[in-house]
């Protein structure tokens, strides 16, 4: 059963603006990894950013950053200075060390539209 919740099926942002995609998850593990993946129309899954749960500092990759709230089990993605190429499906996922051969558990995704 999926235990990753992305509450926004669709989001829209204007070019150069900032958008935040939300994600909550549920696990009883204390150590795990969190991910945001981007899937453009080409279908190729592209890693956007990842966060180790033991790290308090929020991960940042250029225009992409996360707000990781471990106690709240929240892992939101902020995209700054949005570009047309950011339009894609975004998936939040996590992986623990004890489950399913280290399989990723995915949310249902958020479709991001970027308007000029």
């Amino acid at each position: 059963a999926q235990t990753v919740t992305q509450s926004q099926p669709e989001m829209s942002v204007q070019e150069a603006e900032t958008v935040t995609l939300s994600c909550t998850y549920d696990t009883s593990e204390s150590d795990y990894y969190l991910f945001w993946y981007k899937q453009p129309p080409s279908r190729q899954m592209i890693l956007v950013i990842r966060q180790e749960a033991y790290k308090q500092q929020n991960a940042t990759e250029n225009r992409f950053s996360v707000n990781f709230q471990k106690a709240a089990k929240s892992f939101s993605l902020k995209i700054s200075d949005s570009q047309l190429g950011d339009a894609a499906m975004y998936f939040c996922a996590y992986r623990t060390f004890s489950n399913s051969g280290y399989a990723l558990n995915f949310g249902k995704g958020t479709s991001l539209l970027v308007t000029p």
């Binding site: 999926q2 899954m45 992986r95 399913s100 051969g101 280290y102 399989a103 990723l104 995704g109």
Partner: protein, 112 residues
Amino acid sequence: DVKVTQSSRYLVKRTGEKVFLECVQDMDHENMFWYRQDPGLGLRLIYFSYDVKMKEKGDIPEGYSVSREKKERFSLILESASTNQTSMYLCASTLPQDYGYTFGSGTRLTVV
């Protein structure tokens, strides 16, 4: 770079046919996965394998089986395809001690 290759990008099969979806990775990844992707449902784990000839059921294994005879190849088998198996199928691989995953580019299967 690690590559995960799925043999078909698009596939159309008839109801009742036996269907094989192939996935090959070119690094020494031990763990391989098959996911099914449907609009509004995200990616759901069908089966995974952590070694040759080893396989485990994921969240939605019904109607599917898998085969892993060689480390680099992980096949998904639809024994008797049905229309509700029309979907996009994604293969992925990783090393257990790593958290980098490599995905194939997907096979869009239509069962008519």
